[in-house]
Amino acid sequence: MLFNSAEYAVFLILIFFIYWFPLRSSMRMQNFVLLVSSYVFYGWWDYRFVFLLAFSTFLDYYTGLKIEQATTQRMRKAWLVLSVGINLGFLGFFKYYNFFIDSFASLLGQLGLQPNIWTLNIILPVGISFYTFHGLSYVFDIYNKRVKPTANFVDYAVFVSFFPLLVAGPIERATHLLPQVQAPRKFDYAKAVDGLRQILWGLFKKIVIADTCAEYANTIFNHYGDYNGSTLLLGAVFFAFQIYGDFSGYSDIALGSARLLGFDLLKNFNYPYFSRDIAEFWRRWHISLSSWFRDYLYFPLGGSRGGAWMRIRNTFIIFLVSGFWHGANFTFIAWGFLNALYFLPLLVMNKNRSNLDIVAQGRTLPSIREAISMLVTFVLVVLAWVFFRSPTIQDALHYLGGIFSPDLLQMPQVLPKMVLLLIAFFMLIEWIGRERHFALAGIGLKWKRPLRWGFYCLLALLILSYTGKEQQFIYFQF
């Protein structure tokens, strides 16, 4: 069930009414309804996935309790290792088995051996990387005594499988979401309206921006040999807006849906394309994953405590693992590696935390220096996306070679000005709203209702006029 489908709209309305009308006085029943609806939502893709989700949920629930009950540190560690091992085992099997087998076969092939390799036709369960990380964060937090395990299985299962975040995040923490699941919820008018606005903006990002850019990005990336440098650059820019509109649009719909039900989820995007350096970009892009890796990998590895070399080593590890998390392909690892390289000068010069504020805060326009910094960062990010989008490293290198060719200064062969106009409108709204939790949150609040509703209707009509070519959310495959 895609967020940008009529099925989801009906589903959400139905859950909203059941949740707030007959059940509003019973938190237990509300949680039960959330659990059942989340499993229905997940089973909509393939009912077999539900069993895997249920097993993963039970495993982390049980090991969480066992870690808490363990009387010795050794037993605590044993239960943690068991949970991590099984979780990563599942993830590794479903996501990486064929990748490792193929890579191993290729390596043996290069050594002149012809092994009889056994690959499997494995279906990747949608969202497995997300809910595995949910569960892992729970057991890690219990092990590190940041959170107490819940004895209520339904509460825990809702925390893991809550439908707005189940298939593509944000990757929640038990410290943030579990207390909300365990507390009674009252309908909050302002929160619900805000949620609807966020859903509207998310749909605009996904259907109008991402899916439209996808058409052109796909054409250019799939036939990159036919295009000149400027067209290839434009193709990469279209992909940059496709993936941003797609994933942040998804996150907005997720956060908006959760707000309708009285929950606040973690913010996942914070206007990343207005970043002034790559470190700031990574503080603003897929925040819940970056912070997950920071807390559960970077810090345990020593973080930045061991001097410059330790910091550099740990940063590279984080980016490589983050790249690999995205998919079983060397292109994702290369993408992570390139971002780590971008990061390197900032680390060496100790400037990776120099842009912590909001760009041009309180001003309408950025300074020239800020504008140039944003442009340079954006170009670096766009070039890295080429690895993310290309099917192989070779394709990515050819694509980049095509960009940096003499015909980069020629007119693009594909110039859909209407799409560029839409992107300009989108970025304008994002710029205006960059100090809010989502771009549309503050726009029009002081306008008279007919004008404000007119603006929302305009967005809704634009969305409706672009429906029909819905594409799957990119991050569902991760």
């Binding site: 309908f187 008018y189 000005k417 929302y456 409706l464 006029s465 429906t467 029909g468």
Partner: protein, 312 residues
């Protein structure tokens, strides 16, 4: 909560009203050029052709599968190709024939395998081009509602493109070659689709999954039609569609069962066997039912051998 629901409801009503207003068709002339509008020309040709005629009907297998002029030259009778789209469904095609066939006409039914009842929106759309065709299918309320919203969405998309092109004088997104190819002007005067003759093959032909055998309900409808044809002096014959060799191999058993059922139960004389219409994959254009120019030439030549005895 009450206030929230009231305002949300009001917003939905305002949005729905705007949707209906913005869904008014501001550029109805564009429909004249659409692929399905070829039905107007085909019916015009039917009306203006006096005397005996040879009519071919079916889905796009026959639209993309016949050289009517070559048949005409051998038969000495005018040939009209009524094929447009498989999703118009069997009953629609048969009702169309009942409305247009005359005494002594010769009708060839070239039907895609296991042809079903098609798509309501498509049939409904045809009635916008040819009001008389509204009688070829039964209307239903759910279908009408679906059609209404479908048209509104289509009009809103088109109006948005119009608005953007006016605003920027830049035009909407360019249609793909395939969209431009599938147009009313792609048919010749006899109703054969010929626009793809000069086009390169767009890529791999679209495959179909494997057929699962089921007794075809269409046999009964064809038998009823045959009785009508007998009573009205119309000669009717059944033809198999052109089919790619690899697809045929994949579905051979099921197609042979289908053929066996037809031989046993169908009153309409069946001309040839399924394998008579199997052609090399390279002779197909974009889908498994659409022949390219050389494919059409070869199929028409084979067809002429098979039907020679029936068209004199």
């Amino acid at each position: 909560m009450k206030s929230f629901l009231l305002k949300a409801g009001l917003f939905v009503i305002v949005l729905l009203a705007l949707f209906i207003i913005c869904g008014i068709d501001l550029d109805s002339s564009r429909h004249d050029a659409e692929y399905m509008a070829a039905v107007i020309d085909k019916h015009h040709k039917l009306d203006e052709t006096p005397g005996r005629r040879i009519l071919f009907t079916g889905g796009s297998n026959i639209a993309f599968g016949l050289d009517s002029k070559a048949i005409e030259a051998q038969a000495g009778l005018p040939v009209i190709n009524l094929g447009i789209h498989v999703r118009l469904g069997l009953s629609y095609l048969l009702n169309e024939l009942k409305a247009v066939a005359r005494r002594d006409d010769i009708v060839f039914l070239s039907l895609e395998y296991f042809l079903d009842e098609g798509n309501y929106k498509l049939k409904r759309r045809m009635s916008a081009y040819l009001p008389g065709s509204a009688g070829y299918f039964t209307k239903d309320i759910a279908g009408e509602l679906d059609y209404y919203f479908d048209r509104k969405f289509d009009n809103i998309k088109n109006n948005r493109q119009l608005l953007f092109s006016k605003l920027t004088s830049l035009g909407g997104p360019a249609s793909s070659n395939n969209d431009a190819l599938y147009a009313r002007k792609g048919f010749n005067a006899s109703g054969d689709f010929v626009a793809h003759y000069a086009e390169p093959q767009p890529g791999e032909i679209q495959e179909r999954g494997k057929f699962t055998y089921q007794h075809w309900e269409g046999i009964k409808k064809l038998n009823d039609f045959y009785k009508w044809a007998q009573a009205n002096g119309v000669k009717v014959f059944f033809l198999y569609p052109a089919y790619p060799a690899t697809e045929y191999e994949k579905n051979k058993e099921v197609i042979q069962q289908y053929h066996s059922d037809l031989k046993k139960e169908l009153l309409v004389p069946v001309v040839g066997r399924p394998e008579d219409f199997v052609f090399d994959d390279s002779l197909f254009f974009d889908t498994i039912y659409h022949l390219n120019q050389e494919g059409i030439r070869q199929k028409t030549a084979r067809l002429l051998q098979l039907i020679a005895g029936y068209i004199s």
